[in-house]
């Protein structure tokens, strides 16, 4: 009885919260709607006011001219190649290190863990110049390696995987080790499969990081053929000759597709895969 009354009283705030949440979600989505509908408009109508958030016409031709006027497809391909490489190797390195830090006792473990973890605290801008010199010394300027290798180390990822693996009882390793399996087998066929959620989280974060990487290509890549999407879109938006915002926005819309797929794949793991035990000092 009392509970019922309470629920009745809560209806009003509930509706308010729901309305606010809907408005908020519209705020997050409206730029995408505008981009999609404008990319389908005649180039000369692209800047029209009042703004239209829903398509008013369907000029698929804008997407066509994107590919004929501009080497757009290679950008997407480059971005995918780089992002996949970063994701796979970063996840592998992070899970291996996370496993060792969580489940193997070795000399200097804590010190090394703290050293690597301190990488979270180092602003990328403070190390970009020596990093540039390393890339240059290795002769990797203007290659995709330059935007893969420096990004394979992901301290936060190591931390998250370690936290997750620490929650798995040690008896799993012990039993397998007594049965004669070696550490690598234990890692690969027992602990790793159990840690899939956290590996997925790290992979999604790695993919997003690489997919969004603007600064790296800005300083490491020079030639057109090597460009990834973030720089490509920047160039596209300053490019005389595409003729209009509609065509540029067609490029913008296409760039949304891979992250949509990644999100659709990763979002369920994203929520179950992380136990956020704190950064204890």
């Amino acid at each position: 009885m009392a509970a019922d009354k309470k629920d009745g009283l809560r209806m009003a705030p509930r509706i308010i919260v729901e309305v606010v949440m809907i408005l908020v979600s519209v705020f997050f989505l409206i730029p995408f709607l505008w981009a999609i509908s404008t990319s389908l408009r005649l180039p000369k109508d692209s800047l029209n006011l009042p703004p239209q958030f829903l398509p008013t016409s369907f000029q698929i031709a804008n997407y066509g001219s994107l590919f004929t006027l501009f080497p757009f497809f290679p950008f997407i391909l480059n971005s995918i190649v780089v992002a996949v490489a970063v994701t796979v190797f970063q996840a592998l390195f992070s899970t291996m290190a996370g496993y060792a830090f969580a489940r193997i006792d070795f000399k200097g473990k804590n010190l090394l863990f703290i050293a690597i973890l301190s990488g979270i605290m180092i602003p990328g801008q403070s190390i970009i110049i020596p990093q540039f010199l390393v890339v240059k010394t290795f002769g990797l300027m203007d290659t995709h390696w330059a935007i893969i290798l420096p990004y394979l180390i992901f301290p936060l990822g190591i931390f998250l995987v370690r936290q997750f693996m620490m929650t798995i009882p040690k008896s799993y390793d012990e039993a397998a080790l007594i049965d004669g399996a070696d550490r690598f087998r234990v890692f690969w066929s027992i602990i790793l499969p159990m840690s899939v959620p956290s590996v997925a989280v790290v992979s999604v974060m790695g993919f997003i990081g690489s997919w969004n990487n603007f600064f790296g290509p800005l300083i490491y890549l020079n030639t057109w053929e090597k460009m990834t999407l973030p720089m490509g879109l920047k160039v596209l938006s300053g490019f005389n000759g595409t003729g209009s915002l509609s065509v540029i926005l067609a490029g913008v819309v296409i760039s949304f597709i891979p992250p949509i797929l990644i999100y659709a794949f990763g979002q369920k793991y994203l929520l179950q895969g992380t136990t956020l035990t704190g950064l204890k000092s």
């Binding site: 908020v24 730029p31 290190a97 060792a100 990328g124 970009i128 990093q131 600064f215």
Partner: protein
């Protein structure tokens, strides 16, 4: 005899554990040393004391870069701008992220939940230079979408990217739109990890909404809060993409940050030494703040429930 063998075995095991341990961390450690550890040492202890333009070998110049840094009026501008961004963005990301997480983690239909989550998190996933193209058109003074609607309801056009103060606000709005999803998702995870039994018990005890939030949810969320705060602080101190793509540091110097200054000195003027002195100061600031944060965390971060 038996114990001797066991001891030997244990020793052997220790040795092997050491070795496998090192092998497992080797790839991460190596990339760490080459791309983070080594560079930070080089930045702080070497390059900032040099004059170096890449084409000719570095020359040791002592404290000259730092003297220049502390006498150049541009330095105080970029530090001040960066502090402004930190002061605006850190609370916004934390508070809005938390509020949105609370708004989503309620007892609502799961498709709706999925929709909210996707809408809020999606901007995090997309390429920053793609969405800045959209937002600069939204912010445009004379032809922009936002000012159009403001005018409709009788509000004068806001000089979003025209005035220094508003440009800061515009970049901040964009930054929240683009990035609040990451703190949001961390808080969602944090909230989901709170066992239902805690809440049920408190409800039976007759706790109201206010009590539930401040006495139970918030303390349990402090570890998440700490992680979010740490990463956002560092991200804000190195804010680059947003001002670079939206305002290019302008108008004038009003959104020029430390990161933009480093980029411009290093990769436009090729004054690697001078740029490194900014990098070193940036590192020192972030280090100091992190140390303070960690030393205060015992006072407010609650690890009891783990």
């Amino acid at each position: 005899m038996g114990s001797f063998v066991a001891g030997n075995l244990r020793k052997h095991r220790h040795f092997r554990d050491n070795l496998t341990g090192y092998l497992f961390i080797l790839p991460a450690l190596l990339t760490f040393l080459v791309f983070i550890g080594g560079p930070i040492v080089a930045s702080v202890f070497f390059l900032d004391f040099c004059k170096y333009n890449i084409l000719t070998p570095p020359v040791y110049v002592g404290l000259r870069n730092f003297l220049k840094l502390f006498s150049d009026p541009m330095s105080s501008t970029v530090f001040l701008n960066t502090f402004k961004f930190v002061a605006i963005l850190v609370p916004l990301h934390v508070v809005i992220g938390l509020l949105l997480a609370l708004g989503v983690c309620r007892k609502i239909a799961s498709p709706l939940k999925y929709y909210y989550r996707t809408a809020i998190y999606f901007p995090v996933v997309v390429t920053v230079s793609a969405v800045t193209i959209i937002w600069t058109y939204f912010f445009n003074f004379d032809f922009g979408v936002i000012n159009y609607f403001l005018n409709l309801v009788g509000i004068q056009s806001v000089p979003w990217l025209k005035s220094g103060d508003w440009a800061l606000v515009a970049v901040a709005i964009f930054s929240v739109w683009k990035g609040v999803g990451s703190s949001f998702i961390f808080f969602v995870i944090g909230l989901q990890n709170i066992p239902d039994s805690y809440m049920e018990a408190a409800k039976i005890d007759g706790a109201n909404w206010f009590h539930l939030f401040f006495k139970i949810k918030l303390p349990l969320l402090t570890p998440t809060m700490f992680l979010v705060l740490t990463t956002i602080l560092i991200n804000c101190f190195q804010i680059f993409d947003e001002p670079f793509l939206i305002t290019n540091g302008g108008p004038g110097t009003s959104t020029r940050t430390i990161a933009l200054q480093i980029y411009e000195q290093a990769f436009r003027s090729y004054d690697m030494g001078y740029a490194s002195s900014f990098a070193a100061v940036l590192f020192a600031i972030v280090l100091a703040i992190t140390v303070i944060q960690f030393s205060f965390q015992k006072k407010w971060v609650n690890y009891d429930y783990e």
